[in-house]
């Protein structure tokens, strides 16, 4: 049984981990880019950002003061039991958000869209968002928090099957060029692409692709994996680097997630995570033990299942996760 207080405490800790410590996979990606980036201004920006991450970890202060829209992704094991149920979990996450906002401190970013009411705690109507997913045969819950800016670097377009790969490439470039100028997308970034699904799911998949996969991780479909690498290369050949300065460091990695879609359409979304790619995960086991990490492991084989049935995990490993 996983109790309320364990969840709230763990969520407070991942809020701090995300805000302060850059994920190692992303850091490595940017360090590699700083080695090959030839644009002197762009390279200056990358090296300064690395200094900034060091300062954040040393001082235990947020790496970026724009908290973005802090939110959660929760994966619940099918055999997990929660002391206060699902609404208790939601209450724990809302409470942890408010407490972490004060304690770290985070900028209270969340306001009412019309009245601009600010509770100074990043909690409000429909905020923080919580996305849910499930995992068969395990009894843990994974909670990931993502702090991502919310104003630039994302776009949606309804493409059609006849638009083909050209259409995908063109819209990918359009989004990077439009938001890359002056660095509004805070690039170089992990670029997530959602393809297919219904319109709203196209956006959800693209955002999750950007925020919940690590640098170097490939889609299990070999042809999609190839397209990811092709788009990454294309993005890094625009001639634009960090802050929209001359250079090539634009795409730290490109991740594509797909969903079956309307037979007549090929909706697409593009999402740029940022130079402060803030994510942190905790796994809370049935006995209350917490394991912290930066890799969300959100897209499991079960998440990407193709049809009614799905491959059952090896029974001997079923509780090890």
């Amino acid at each position: 049984m996983i109790d309320y207080q364990t969840i709230e405490n763990a969520a407070r800790r991942i809020m701090a981990n995300a805000a302060i410590d850059i994920p190692p996979d992303y850091r490595q990606g940017i360090e590699d880019m700083a080695k090959w980036e030839e644009g002197d201004l762009s390279c200056f920006v990358l090296q300064t950002m690395i200094d900034n991450w060091n300062a954040a970890s040393e001082d235990r202060r947020p790496m970026c003061a724009d908290t973005g829209l802090p939110r959660y992704y929760v994966k619940v094991g099918n055999n997990a039991r929660l002391s206060d149920g699902f609404t208790g979990l939601e209450r724990a996450l809302r409470s942890a958000t408010a407490l972490a906002t004060h304690d770290i401190p985070l900028r209270p970013n969340r306001v009412h869209p019309l009245w601009r009411t600010d509770h100074n705690n990043n909690v409000g109507i429909n905020a923080p968002e919580i996305d849910w997913s499930f995992e068969p045969d395990v009894d843990w819950i994974d909670i990931t928090t993502v702090h991502k800016g919310g104003l630039f670097g994302t776009d949606y377009r309804m493409l059609f099957p006849g638009d083909g790969i050209d259409g995908i490439k063109r819209f990918f470039l359009d989004t990077l060029v439009a938001f890359g100028k002056r660095g509004l997308a805070c690039q170089p970034a992990i670029i997530g692409i959602g393809l297919g699904g219904s319109k709203d799911i196209t956006m959800v998949l693209g955002k999750q692709a950007a925020c919940l996969r690590t640098v170097g991780e490939r889609n299990p479909d070999p042809q999609i994996a190839e397209l990811e690498l092709e788009l990454k290369k294309l993005g890094n050949s625009i001639g634009m680097g960090a802050m929209g300065f001359v250079g090539n460091a634009m795409v730290a990695d490109c991740h594509i997630e797909v969903g079956y879609t309307h037979t007549g359409g090929m909706p697409m979304s593009v999402h740029a995570f940022c130079l402060s790619s803030r994510r942190a995960t905790v796994r809370i086991h049935a006995d209350g033990k917490c394991e912290y990490r930066h890799d969300p492991r959100w897209f499991t084989p079960y998440m990407r299942r193709e049809t009614v049935e799905w491959p059952m995990p090896n029974r001997s490993e079923k509780q090890s996760g």
Partner: protein, 226 residues
């Protein structure tokens, strides 16, 4: 590139700045600030310029650097403030208030994210003798947070909330920033953008346009998009 940082010309300025401090600054130079700076964005501009609230007494003498920012800061139970990090917000959105703001506040340095348009520099900042410094990254929140030594005061905190209030910071070695617009209105972003634009046609060559267009690709609402 081995060390792009040491190659850049670096300048340290004392705020409030004098006109001669800014005269020789070149776009692309790195700047660090010492002295007092204040935050101000749409909340403060509306309050002062549209609702006619008076500027905090003595603010123009204390500082002439306006940071487009909201800090990651909290008010403690004893009334003190803890400031974690600070990062800028995109400045182009504040264009409509800048002329009146510069006239009233006598600010000479605008610090923000992404710069403003070349027309805004020409028509608003240059006549006011003001330059624009951009933050780096974006978001060297921790490095900038280190540079904040004290919170002198916070105005309109209750009314505008943490993010929109006017924070007055005492700063030391506060940076890095890049000179985006100098006193003549030369813009680093514009100069870099021109160089990048030269490559775009080649980049798109051979990629056919999608079947369905969108408004934005045409501005004539009478056009069909197919």
């Amino acid at each position: 590139m081995a060390d792009a940082k040491s190659q850049r010309k670096t300048v340290r300025l004392k705020v409030p700045v004098e006109a001669q401090d800014l005269a020789d600054l070149e776009i692309g130079s790195v700047v660090y600030l010492d002295g007092v700076i204040y935050t101000g964005r749409e909340g403060v501009y509306k309050k002062v310029l549209e609702q006619g609230a008076a500027l905090p007494a003595g603010i123009s003498e204390l500082s002439n650097a306006n940071f487009h920012c909201s800090p990651a800061a909290a008010v403690e139970a004893d009334g003190s403030y803890s400031v974690g990090g600070v990062t800028a917000t995109a400045s182009f959105r504040f264009s409509k208030w800048m002329a009146d703001w510069l006239a009233l506040s006598r600010a000479k340095i605008i610090i923000g994210k992404g710069g403003m348009s070349a027309a805004d520099y020409r028509d608003i900042l240059v006549p006011a003798g003001a330059i624009y410094l951009t933050t780096v990254g974006y978001g060297t929140g921790a490095l900038l947070g280190r540079g904040i030594k004290d919170v002198r005061a916070v105005h309109w905190l209750e009314e505008l909330g943490n993010a929109q209030a006017m924070w007055i910071f005492e700063v030391e070695n506060f940076g890095p920033f890049l000179v985006e617009s100098d006193v003549r209105g030369n813009s680093l972003f514009e100069q870099q953008g021109r160089l990048i634009n030269a490559n775009l046609e080649k980049l798109y060559r051979g990629l056919k346009a999608p079947a369905l267009s969108r408004y934005g690709e045409t501005d004539d609402r009478k056009d069909e998009l197919i």
